[in-house]
């Protein structure tokens, strides 16, 4: 194996197929949930939570973040912290306006 590529030998192609199955299943679950006659707020929370889980699966298994060094975790998480900060400011001003 070339030394300059991520070592993915521990992740078999079977794992990749299983993740694909999960991604497709969670996507269909989101589509079904969006049609349920329940509170819109619950639908939004559940569907976005499902999207976050799918994104996490892609990052951990397909982008191999699960096996990568902590520096890459830092690079991946840093924008999320900034996003949380930015959205926090935006939404706090939005609700204060209300």
């Amino acid at each position: 194996m070339p030394v300059h590529m991520t070592d993915i030998t521990s992740s078999s192609t079977r794992t990749y197929l299983a993740i694909w199955g999960w991604l497709a299943g969670l996507m269909l679950l989101g589509v079904v949930l969006a049609e349920l006659p329940i509170s819109k707020l619950w639908i939004v929370l559940m569907v976005l939570a499902l999207s976050s889980v799918k994104a996490l699966l892609v990052a951990l298994y397909y982008m191999h973040l699960k096996m990568d060094r902590w520096v890459l975790w830092l690079v991946a998480v840093a924008p999320l912290a900034l996003i949380a900060l930015a959205l926090g400011v935006v939404f706090s001003s939005f609700f204060i306006q209300l």
């Binding site: 990749y16 694909w20 969006a34 639908i43 298994y61 924008p79 900034l82």
Partner: protein
């Protein structure tokens, strides 16, 4: 730099001072900046959406089956490109890598084709970006995403072109991982755009 030094220096893209190949670290940093770019757009969309309780109204109908199909296609293409990487890692015959990459490119093209069909249907009904705030957001978000998909397809085609010669492939195959990282990022963006635009 002398020729002797240049010959002995590691390849710039997998030289490392951090334990992570520079090319890979560079790609992750680029993706971090891209996260901020799309967060700005999606954040603006959410704020506008919250300001309009009736959003997008009956005129804002998007085809959920088409959106679902496109999501399925993009998720599938993420799987096929990681299969290409796995084949390269396992040093399987180059045909195996080429096949998975080709399928990835075709799925990306299919995604754009369906998106183009959606655009043409809307445009035929006179729905343009200036038709309303929702449509401005829709065309902006999906347009920028489609441009990223197109960029990913070009990147994958370049990597695919390196599989023509074994010696070229040996020198360049580490870039497949970079193409894969970019492609998965494009997939993650769509994973959020699909429910925001089509389902909620």
């Amino acid at each position: 730099m002398s020729n002797a030094h240049a010959a002995s220096a590691p390849h710039a893209s997998y030289a490392t001072a951090t334990g992570i190949p520079n090319g890979k670290l560079g790609m992750w940093l680029f993706l971090a900046s891209e996260v901020m770019f799309f967060t700005g757009l999606i954040g603006a969309y959410i704020v506008l959406r919250l300001s309009h309780p009736q959003w997008p109204g009956p005129e804002g109908h998007l085809s959920v089956p088409l959106g679902t199909l496109n999501t399925f296609i993009l998720i599938g293409s993420s799987m096929t490109i990681v299969m290409a990487l796995a084949a390269a890692q396992a040093e399987r015959p180059i045909d195996s890598v080429r096949r998975w990459l080709l399928v990835t490119v075709l799925l990306g093209g299919l995604f754009l084709g369906i998106k183009g069909f959606e655009y043409s249907t809307k445009l035929a009904h006179g729905i343009v970006p200036s038709s309303g705030v929702f449509w401005s957001c829709y065309y902006t978000l999906t347009g920028f995403h489609a441009l990223h998909v197109l960029g990913g397809i070009v990147f994958n085609l370049v990597v695919l072109s390196w599989t023509r010669e074994a010696s070229l492939w040996r020198a360049q195959r580490h870039r497949l991982e970079l193409a894969g990282l970019y492609w998965h990022f494009v997939d993650i963006v769509w994973i959020f755009l699909f429910p925001l635009l089509y389902l909620l």
